[in-house]
């Protein structure tokens, strides 16, 4: 890859007259040695998996193995269908993101974007916007390359796993990736897309990873729903001309600083936060006793 930072990425795109998605496809083909068409087909397959996960989450039983989550996407979709949603049509992005995260929690097939814990945000944003604005699968696939380029910069300069950097690194990164990609998909320049990333990341700095019972369920699933809505908002701000006053690359450094300073108990160990509330602890105890019973059978 010829870029390490988002400002370099935006400059390369501007110099070469390419979108972020187009540039990333070329860079990926150069890295792998495969023809661009091969890489594009693989990404298109991944998009088909995302769409399928949205559909399954909205129609199938997504009760998780632990039994503590499931079917919230269908509740939200039904509520949205009644036409009184505060979010209006943007509520679809939230429902779809919940759907994919619930498919993940119930051991269904998803694409890690960048991780399984944050796998709902990009499909939620992409699939709902594709339907709403009548965009082609090809256009959306380029969007995934754009999201990947943004994630590549975040991952190599900061982190994308909750164990390393808290939830800001997983859900936060996914929101930044979705926001930047959506800005580009809606006709924004590479520079606007990069502003969208910084605007979005600033809103999740400091978010801890505190999964109840150590499972990728509470609060991960609802954070994917919220994340999709935040990504729409960040893309809109950037498309309206709002700039990230602190450049996006500097915001990524802040994520690194904040995540590195986060105590272990707030980095995917279930040792603090929501996981250690009275109810969080009761759920963990309940899961343990159920498991012990199963083990004896």
């Amino acid at each position: 890859m010829r870029f390490r930072h988002l400002n370099e990425l935006a400059k390369l795109c501007a110099d070469e007259g390419l979108t972020i998605g187009e540039l990333m496809l070329a860079e990926q083909a150069a890295e792998s040695g495969h023809p661009p068409a091969w890489e594009f087909a693989k990404m298109a397959d991944y998009y088909a998996v995302m769409k399928d996960a949205v559909k399954r989450g909205l129609t199938e039983d997504t009760t998780s193995r632990s039994g503590i989550t499931g079917l919230d996407a269908q509740r939200v979709a039904a509520y949205n269908g009644a036409g009184t949603s505060n979010l209006g049509i943007a509520g679809d992005a939230m429902a779809y993101a919940l759907a994919v995260s619930e498919v993940n929690a119930s051991m269904g097939r998803i694409i890690a974007t960048p991780t399984a814990g944050s796998c709902g945000i990009i499909p939620g944003v992409f699939v709902s916007c594709q339907e709403r604005f009548g965009l082609s699968d090809e256009h959306m696939t380029y969007g995934l390359f754009a999201a990947g380029a943004i994630g590549y910069v975040i991952a190599n300069n900061s982190f994308v796993s909750g164990a390393e950097g808290g939830c800001q690194a997983e859900v936060g990164s996914a929101i930044g990736m979705a926001a930047g990609a959506l800005a580009e998909l809606r006709g924004g320049s590479p520079a606007q897309a990069v502003h969208a990333v910084g605007l979005a990341l600033k809103n999740t700095l400091g978010l801890i990873c505190d999964p109840v019972g150590g499972l990728v369920e509470v609060p991960c699933i609802v954070r994917n729903g919220f994340g999709a809505v935040t990504a729409l908002a960040a893309a809109d701000m950037a498309l309206a001309g709002v700039r990230s006053v602190i450049p996006s690359d500097e915001v990524i450094q802040v994520m690194l600083e904040v995540g590195s300073a986060m105590p272990d108990k707030h980095r995917e160990t279930a040792g603090g936060g929501l996981a250690q509330t009275p109810t969080g602890k009761a759920i963990l105890e309940d899961l343990r006793s159920k498991r012990a019973k199963r083990g004896k059978e």
Binding site: E39, G108, I110, I111, A112, P114, A155, G214, L215
Partner: protein
């Protein structure tokens, strides 16, 4: 750069719920299965799986158990049969035992997999799951190793004799195969050794035949986790 390409960010395609505890575990199991050998005769009849650290603490909730067994059945990370892998293993005649390991381990997410075929051939591999579904195999049959599964890889068991590496790399050169990463370890001076090579290119039958014909080479295994 820790992350090298777009598909280590967008991907893998996987069965949930956790990229490290589910997809990573499946890849570790699958690498071990492929290291045992190719074809039906190499199907394991016994699997002993030892989980360490976070794997040991949370494996049931994350489906790490079914994922690693799915991998041992040679399933990719997105194979929909993964949730049912324990039953499928039983049907395939494979007994599975899980243990929680004590003592030192190289990473918070570590698994040790010991496999045995009906003819008594065994394979023991240690894998670590480093995030986002990415793994490293760090030990194979007691040899130190490094294999990521990002590239197609060869595990070449051979005698520790002068010139054996030149012989192996000579065959690779003839087949225009470029080495991405290579690790060599031995049990003792002039004893058994293992060379693990990650390649940028496809591993052809001709290459495998040539490597197997090298006098010091005992056996060659191919690990290919690049399809998901």
């Amino acid at each position: 750069m820790r992350f090298k390409d777009v598909f280590s960010i967008i991907g893998p395609a996987m069965v949930g719920p956790s990229s490290s505890h589910t997809a990573g575990a499946a890849r570790i199991g699958r690498a071990a299965r492929q290291l045992l050998g190719d074809g039906e005769a190499a199907n394991p009849v016994e699997a002993l799986i030892t989980f360490y650290g976070s794997f040991a603490a949370t494996y049931a909730g994350h489906g790490t158990d079914v994922a690693i067994v799915g991998g041992i059945l040679d399933f990719a990370t997105d194979d929909p049969r993964i949730p049912d892998a324990l039953n499928l293993a039983e049907q395939a005649g494979m007994s599975v035992t899980f243990r929680e390991g004590k003592g030192l381990y190289p990473h918070p997410n570590t698994a040790r997999v010991r496999l045995k075929t009906s003819s008594g051939q065994t394979l023991e591999a240690v894998g670590i799951s480093i995030g986002g579904g990415n793994i490293e195999i760090v030990e194979i049959n007691g040899f130190r190793a490094k294999m990521t599964g990002v590239y197609k890889a060869l595990a070449i068991f051979h005698a520790d004799t002068p010139g054996v590496i030149a012989e192996i790399t000579g065959r690779l050169r003839e087949e225009h195969s470029n080495i991405g990463y290579m690790s060599v370890d031995r049990k003792s001076r002039s004893g058994d050794a293992l060379t693990v090579i990650e390649l940028d290119t496809d591993i052809t039958e001709e290459l495998l035949t040539k490597l197997a014909a090298c006098p010091s080479v005992q056996s060659v295994r191919v690990v290919d986790l690049t399809d998901s």
